[in-house]
């Protein structure tokens, strides 16, 4: 369970305070997947940096399972738009990174190998990131996050740099993995379609400084042939309307 109460964030440049998030309140239940959507610059990444313990300078309270955010004791899987892979480590070392830092294990076990196979990157272990396509790099980042067996999965527009075909492929791969692992997930996107496909609930942000405009239940989540259904169309119109009104 993630509890965010009155979260307000400012960035400071010289002496000027730039507001990035204003009075954000939300609770996310354990095992849920929430998609967050909002205009560019509204503070979505900022929200994720707070949840992942990267940004510590904020007002309000953020608690994960009743405790303040602490990346040392909590297991947080973070997946970023630019993959966040270390260019000087090959695929094997990159996927191992989380386990190495958490001091869990020195080698990949069966669970890890199954994961790599499921993601279709088990034959690429000795390649460097620059020798992979964007889609393959993002698969490596996903593998790294899931190998951690995270308590919390945070994803910042992970698929938006990919072409449409690869993106839909990866959305499906990701959703399958998520179902098997059932990990609490915050998924940030700027695509209404992605928000509807991946979120059990959809949180809509206002333009900068970000506030939550609405939290919608998503009836389309895990629906067959989602994109051709009427509900999908209705929901997508609803979200667009909220976004446009700001």
């Amino acid at each position: 369970m993630i509890e965010v109460k009155d979260l307000t964030v400012h960035y400071y440049r010289e002496k000027e305070a730039i507001p990035a998030l204003r009075q954000v309140n939300i609770n996310i239940g354990t095992g849920d997947i929430y998609t967050f959507i909002g205009p560019s610059g509204c503070g979505k990444s900022t929200f994720l940096y707070v949840l992942s313990g990267i940004l510590k300078d904020y007002e309000g309270s953020v608690r994960i399972d009743g405790r303040p955010v602490d990346p040392k004791s909590q297991r947080i899987g973070l997946i970023l738009q630019n993959y966040g892979l270390l260019p000087w480590k090959n695929v094997y070392a990159n996927t191992m990174l989380g386990l190495k830092i958490k001091n869990d294990q020195k080698f990949l076990d069966d669970h890890c190998h199954a994961l790599l196979k499921q993601l279709g990157i088990d034959h690429l272990l000795d390649r460097f990131p620059k020798e992979l396509s964007g889609g393959q790099q993002q698969r490596v980042a996903i593998a790294r996050a899931f190998m951690l067996k995270p308590d919390l999965l945070l994803m910042d527009e992970p698929f938006s740099a990919l072409d449409a075909i690869t993106r839909e492929e990866l959305q499906e791969v990701f959703l399958n993995l998520w179902k098997e692992n059932n990990v609490t997930t915050v998924f940030i996107t700027h695509s209404v379609d992605e928000a509807l496909y991946l979120g059990s609930k959809i949180v809509v942000f206002s333009p900068s400084p970000g506030r939550i405009l609405d939290v919608l239940d998503n009836p389309c989540f895990q629906m067959e042939n989602l994109r051709s259904s009427e509900k999908y169309y209705d929901m997508s119109m609803r979200i667009r309307k909220i976004l446009n009104k700001g």
């Binding site: 992942s52 990267i54 973070l78 966040g84 892979l85 270390l86 000087w88 990174l97 830092i101 990131p129």
Partner: protein
């Protein structure tokens, strides 16, 4: 390993030098330009018991100088790159001293540290260290924020930031800087070996010149060039190896 192109280039270069040298020797027929074959025969004769020790001295000085420069310069540069505050304090100092032609400092160094080994080492260190400091600092600054973030979210400590990110990211650049500074370092070494010592290739060459033994003198020059070439190649190979990920 180095490409065939490198070795082919080196071979052509060597052949060209020998051809021009031989041509000059034939055309001018003066004792100050002996033919290459005579120099080589003499070199083989004198190397073991007359020249080897001098080569060892020079090699020792330059390796020690470069190692000291790396041991001091790399940590300084990395800390400057990572901690804004250290950078603010040290940068002006580095920028002020970097463009001073180091040879101009030689009289001061000699006055302060005498004519012995200390001055020779300090000169080499001074030549190489600034480039190493600036390069390693810039290498750290060029690391994208996302790479640090993915490690932070895993709960990595400061030490792990250095071992996992900062050191591997800057290693290749540091070697490039060392390779670039090597040429100047060898010429300064030669210069400092012409006084205050009876060992080293600089001494050997100048001494042969005084004795009007041109065969020995040319032999010394050949060996000094060869030493520079070998050092250059070793650094180049290491550099290629550690930057395979680029």
């Amino acid at each position: 390993m180095l490409s065939n192109r490198f070795w082919r280039g080196a071979t052509y270069g060597l052949l060209l030098v020998i051809i021009i040298w031989q041509a000059l020797a034939w055309l001018l027929k003066i004792p100050i330009i002996p033919p290459p074959l005579a120099v080589l025969t003499n070199l083989i004769e004198i190397f073991a018991d007359k020249m080897g020790l001098h080569l060892l001295y020079s090699l020792g000085r330059i390796i020690a100088g470069i190692s000291i420069a790396i041991l001091i310069g790399v940590p300084t540069g990395l800390l400057m790159g990572y901690f804004e505050r250290i950078d603010k304090v040290l940068s002006p100092l580095v920028y002020f001293t970097y463009p001073i032609p180091k040879i101009a400092l030689l009289p001061i160094i000699m006055l302060l540290f005498g004519l012995g080994e200390g001055s020779k080492l300090i000169m080499i260190v001074l030549i190489v260290i600034f480039q190493i400091i600036i390069t390693s600092r810039d290498a750290v600054k060029a690391i994208p924020q996302d790479i640090f973030r993915s490690l932070q979210s895993l709960g990595a400590g400061r030490l792990q930031m250095f071992t996992e990110i900062i050191i591997p990211a800057s290693l290749a650049d540091v070697l490039t800087a060392t390779r670039l500074a090597l040429g100047t370092a060898v010429s300064i070494l030669f210069f400092t070996e012409t006084f205050g010592t009876e060992y080293g290739m600089g001494y050997f060459i100048m001494d042969a010149w005084m004795r009007v033994n041109y065969l020995d003198m040319y032999g010394g020059i050949v060996i000094l060039s060869l030493m520079g070439f070998v050092l250059f190649t070793v650094i180049d190979i290491t550099e290629k190896r550690v930057s395979a990920w680029r």
